[in-house]
Amino acid sequence: MENLVQIALQNVNMAAILPSLVLTCFGMGLLLINVFLPRGTTRHAVWISVIGLVVTGFFVYTGWGNPQYGFNDAVANDNYTAFFSVIFLFAAGLTILMSDDYLTREGYPVSEYYPLILFATAGAMWMASGTDMLTIFLGLEVMSIALYVLAGFFRGQLRSNEAGLKYFLLGAFSTGFLLYGIALIYGVTGSTKLTEIGIYLNAHGSLLENPMTLAGLVLLSTGFLFKIAAAPFHMWTPDVYEGAPTPVTAFMSAGPKAAAFAAFLRIMEYCFFSLKPEWTAMLWVIAVLTMVIGNVIAIQQTNLKRMLAYSSIAHAGYALVGLVAANEIGYSGILFYMLAYTFMNIGAFAVLVLAGKKGEDNLTLEGFSGFGLKRPFLGVAMTVFLFSLMGLPPTAGFAGKFYIFAGAVKAGYIWLAVIGVLNSAVSLYYYLRIMVYMYFRDAEEDYAWVSLPAAAVISIVIALIGVFYLGIIPGDVMEMAKMAIF
């Protein structure tokens, strides 16, 4: 026993993981509280989760401009992490607010739903804050496993089961790619720390042409592009988004996508900056493919959830343009765009949740006939979100697209920006079609529309404020996004 060493935690710096720590504590506390309350009560869970998110938001705020590193450089709580954390918190908060009434309506008033959303958010925060491949990978797993369960949350519905299983199988498959990529890069450089990998690759120029490095880079990208839902790795998106409960779809389309972008961007910038010409060329093709496939297929959809799924693929393509540009405006444009997308997309999904008839979802285009006149508030809100998704001023979507395409033009990718703008034009068709149905078609029958629950209305109002704030005065947030990137 004499050589038993003193095992001590090294470089503990709780400030580096403080926000996610607070969030997980709230999640686990909520799990405990649920045990002592009768089944079927969920109202308390909504408010405790929201309080948890607000408290976490406070700790994110205190971390701004005060970078903390800890656990042997496994995590960094810098501005970049803080900016993305705000995105995740908004995504989780808006989702939680719109969920309660929907879950009760669909017959699943299960309070474990809320801790799972909080855990997925914590996982997303670890992904954004990870400066070690290991942390990023574990964050991805935490987030994904919570999402697999959430996608299959309506256990009695075949569609939800299918969504959960499909997401699980394809997610596990993509995780395999990611892990293989990490293993190859580790094999080349002998480190999993992002900065060390970058320095090593930069110092050993011959390694840049090593097939193992390139294979590692490609596999790693594949893993993340899968989570981002970029073409040609988008096949799972429509089915999973359609089958999952609508609030979960809203969360999946904003939070995890932003998390994957956060980790992807950090890895590309920290590790592979010396391979920039190679990966920008690769991502150029993928960005164009993603935008075109997303927009063109969305035109044919008549189910709104499926349409928004394809639109979310297209939006991943726009954000990838910022990554191709690989300059300050492009990178901060991605951050800005992800925040804007969170507001506009979750807002649109919140309207979909409230558009349901009692007992069943109302998600077809025909079902939206006359919707705008019957439900004026929801109609106007949906119109604003759709305008924002199209990218028309004065909404957040316009400012976001403007920054991203400006970055592409500045980096010399004129054609990429042109293709992006053309794609936005294509997207006008299917977004406007929803509005045509909402305002210019008569309702065929009188539905028993669901009443407007206060929490969901708060969620829509916050999203509206976000869309207009980012659209009318984008400068402030853009300045913060510029401070957030490396």
Partner: protein, 167 residues
């Protein structure tokens, strides 16, 4: 000799995995996968990581494969009809692979201890693994333990019997 063993084990692994994914009978497939895991375990030992080798046998070949077999039997996936053809045709490859595995293991046991350093440039003691896990990678261990907690909750959520309210 380590190099020779490495190639033999590599061949065994490839052959066993190929046979695993081409078998019709899931039970046979699982048995081949076990053979592949054993070969991998010995390879880890050759590379100087005895703890990983032990885990490979205990966790993968032991626990996980037993779970696989258990689920195959519980779901009744194994074909019911009696197999045709002579037995050596079905079990020949497995006997060949596992006996060569055993020969490899025996060679390792009876070889000159000094020769074992041939490939493995270093030797990773279990103690070093423990120190790394609870020192450098403490955060990762905590995250994994947390993940196991809510993965259990998720599995419970999805797996518990449907109540009357559910369709």
């Amino acid at each position: 000799m380590s190099a020779l063993l490495f190639y033999i084990l590599g061949f065994i692994m490839l052959a066993a995995t190929l046979l695993c994914i081409t078998r019709r009978n899931p039970v046979h497939a699982v048995i081949y996968l076990v053979a592949s895991f054993f070969a991998l375990a010995i390879m880890f030992y050759l590379l100087g990581a005895p703890l990983v080798a032990a885990f490979e046998v205990i966790v993968y070949a032991g626990a996980i494969m037993v779970l696989f077999l258990f689920i195959i039997m519980m779901l009744g996936l194994a074909p019911q009809e009696t197999p045709e053809g002579p037995g050596w045709k079905r079990w020949g490859p497995l006997v060949l692979l596992s006996s060569s595995l055993m020969i490899c293991t025996l060679m390792l046991i009876f070889q000159d201890p000094a020769a074992s350093k041939e490939i493995g440039a270093f030797y990773l003691a279990p103690q070093a693994v423990g120190e790394a896990l609870f020192g450098r990678y403490a955060l990762a261990v905590e995250v994994i333990s947390f993940q196991l907690l809510f993965a259990t909750i998720g599995a419970y959520m999805l797996g518990k019997p449907l109540s009357k309210g559910d369709q």
